[in-house]
């Protein structure tokens, strides 16, 4: 699988583009004959999680004059997605296709991009390689771990026991990074904090997610967060058991009126507006857009009743620090088997972090 190494400069550039674009009201752009943007989701578009976060951003685009949006949900990561993309191109005349699930990229987005060079395809993960991959393909993604770091800060100051729980779908890089950042956030305010992780082995399996939540609470965790496709069950189970929770991917505040602290969310609308803008003005659609707090690509859900006043203050300060480029991973850091994994200070966008395959010391759990 190809890995993109991102230079900090390219990120900052895209950050500037993001700011420039969000300053421009979209409707004011000179609309072309009309552009069609297709979006493909791996699950239901109202899943209270990953797919919903994209669908909500598409709904914003839908309101823009001159843009029509076509969507398909529940498209598996098989040749079905290649055919869905081709169908959008051939039958709907799509100009841009947003493939939002990780496994869509290789080989499906790559094949379709090579076959239809006049259509732009953008995929939501850091996979596009400028040297080898088609020029009409590209990547966009957010460093959601920054928002999970803020979750950790707020959770660390809202927890009585300092024991936090994290329900993870699979031991893959984004999940591990979110979990580790959650720990580091909590440790920045409570050096004794721990994060206990349970892997469910599946992106969406509600019964096992509920079991995992219960198991963590039985192990004395009093704040629960997660990285699964649809966090609704986790948040609701935690609320029913009377413990606090931090959300993931979408606004889950309403699900836990008593215990919700805050949640990590991506702001896909930032990226999608840049794309629509570029298409309508006939400019090149950027191949690579990535970022976090510094360029308005992630956010934290407004605080809920579970957040203590100290947590709100500290989380707000953490957000400001992240916007200013404060690094999350500051060495020396060991993984939880005792191996030194990070020596010095890591830039929040350092390519090394894209290879993360460990859980840091302080996280209880194993990746295999």
């Amino acid at each position: 699988m190809t890995m993109t190494s991102l230079s900090r400069r390219s990120l900052l550039k895209s950050g500037a583009a993001a700011l420039a674009a969000s300053a421009l009201p979209l409707g004011a752009a000179r609309a072309q004959d009309g552009i069609t943007i297709g979006a493909i989701y791996v699950g239901p578009r109202d899943d209270f999680g990953w797919n919903q976060s994209h669908a909500a951003a598409m709904d914003i685009l839908r309101e823009v004059p001159g843009v029509s949006v076509v969507e398909e949900e529940n498209v598996p990561e098989t040749d079905a997605v290649a055919k869905s993309m081709e169908s959008m191109i051939n039958l709907d005349g799509a100009n841009l296709i947003l493939a939002t699930s990780f496994g869509y990229y290789n080989p499906f987005v790559l094949d379709v991009a090579a076959k239809y060079p006049e259509v732009q395809l953008r995929h939501c993960a850091p996979l596009w390689n400028p040297d080898t991959d088609p020029k009409n393909a590209g990547s966009y993604f957010s460093y959601l771990n920054q928002a999970h770091y803020v979750n950790g800060v707020a959770a660390g100051l809202s927890s009585a026991s300092g024991k936090l729980g994290f329900i993870a779908a699979k031991p893959v890089q984004t999940v591990l990074s979110n979990c580790n950042s959650f720990l580091l956030g909590a440790r920045s305010v409570n050096p004794n904090a721990t994060v206990q992780v349970i892997f469910t082995g599946s992106w969406s399996m509600p019964v096992r997610e509920a079991e995992a939540t219960n198991a963590l609470i039985d192990a004395d965790c009093d704040v629960i967060s997660c990285h699964v496709d649809s966090p609704k069950v986790v948040i609701e189970t935690a609320e029913a058991r009377g413990v606090k929770s931090c959300g993931h991917n979408a606004d889950q505040r309403a699900l836990a009126p008593n215990g919700f602290i805050t949640g990590a969310e991506s702001k896909w609308s930032t990226t999608y507006k840049i794309y629509a803008e570029a298409l309508m003005s006939g400019e090149t659609v950027p191949n690579l857009i990535a970022g976090g707090y510094h360029n308005d690509m992630v956010m934290n859900t407004p605080f809920g009743a579970g957040a203590t006043p100290e947590a709100i203050t500290a989380a707000g300060a953490a957000i400001e620090a992240l916007k200013g480029g404060k690094p999350i991973y500051v060495g020396p850091l060991k993984d939880n088997t005792g191996k030194l994994v990070i020596e010095g200070e890591m830039d929040n966008y350092a390519p090394e972090l894209e290879k993360m395959n460990y859980l840091l010391d302080g996280v209880i759990g194993s990746t295999t």
């Binding site: 349970i198 892997f199 509600p206 019964v207 309403a254």
Partner: protein
């Protein structure tokens, strides 16, 4: 260490009670159906449709128990369709079951879209662990009334099949349609009624999923529990009491994976998560050869012929 073992055991007890109920209700429904000589492989459809209807009803009316009833009725209607079609000559009951699994799931997903987001009133649990000061014991013994409905139903079914005239008619229909007919029993009607009642129970099993545990409606809610429960009936050898043990075992072993990870034992969690399936297979391999097993199967059942 003994603490950790206690935790895992408590989690498995709690898991057995929490997770087993839908398996139990579906398995009991299937037992009744199969005792009458027909197999309905489609109860997964009832489970999913029941879950959706229960959630939607609870959300719209504010009464979760009305949701339970609606789920049962939806399951009954679906299974009545199965029962009616299967009485036509040359129609294969297994195939019709799979068709209804498809149809039930499809209808649930189709009409369930608007109910993924909202939060509906859910069923309450009975706190049976109030005597203990240990929070884990308290948690493990928080039991939903539907679990007791399942237990009561198991005893009732067992007693009814064994001791009543109705039970005799159902068993006779299941063992030999010809002799049932000779006794003046309408085989088709008995099977229609048994299948419909079984569908009702399976629908309630779905209500448990969406209204209690995990307590939410989503398209990935079931992950094949209804299909597995139907298979458990063969494992339980058509005995309602053994269905209880099978469901409890399945629930407890399902809790094993998360519980072991919560005490920091997580190597190979895929296999712990697959524990219910592995354990069921091992027990079947060890026990199935007995002559008793063949003897207990209803003679008319296409799947054991």
């Amino acid at each position: 260490m003994s603490d950790a073992i206690f935790m895992v055991l408590m989690a498995m007890l709690g898991g057995a009670i929490r997770v087993s109920t839908p398996f139990l209700l579906v398995a009991l429904g299937e037992t009744l159906t199969e005792k009458s000589g027909r197999i309905n492989l489609g109860l997964e459809g009832n489970l999913v449709l029941g879950a959706m209807i229960a959630y939607a009803t609870s959300y719209s009316t504010g009464s979760p128990w009305l949701g339970v009833l609606a789920a049962g009725l939806a399951g009954m209607v679906l299974s009545a369709g199965h029962g009616w079609i299967c009485k036509l000559p040359k129609v294969n009951d297994i195939a019709v079951g799979i068709a209804f699994m498809n149809l039930g799931t499809g209808l649930a997903f189709f009409f369930g879209k608007p109910f993924i987001q909202p939060t509906a009133p859910r069923l309450d649990a009975i706190a049976l662990g109030a005597w203990s000061s240990n929070p884990q014991v308290q948690q493990a013994l928080k039991v939903n009334p539907l679990f007791f409905v399942g237990l009561g139903l198991a005893v009732l079914l067992w007693w009814m099949l064994k001791n009543t005239r109705w039970g005799l008619i159902i068993r006779m229909t299941g063992d030999s349609a010809a002799s049932a007919r000779a006794m003046g029993v309408s085989v088709d009607r008995v099977r229609l009624l048994a299948t419909s009642a079984g569908g009702f129970f399976a629908g309630i099993g779905g209500a448990f999923l969406s209204l209690y545990y995990p307590g939410s409606w989503s398209e990935s809610l079931s992950s094949g529990q209804g299909l597995m429960a139907v298979a458990l009936v063969i494992f339980a050898r058509w005995n309602p009491i053994r269905c209880v043990w099978a469901a409890l075992l399945f629930g407890a072993s399902g809790a094993l994976g998360p519980a072991l990870q919560s005490i920091g034992f997580s190597k190979g969690y895929y296999f712990f998560n697959a524990a219910p399936y592995i354990l069921t297979l091992v027990i079947m391999v060890l026990s199935a050869r007995s002559q008793k097993a063949a003897h207990e199967a209803p003679g008319e059942l296409s799947i054991v012929k």
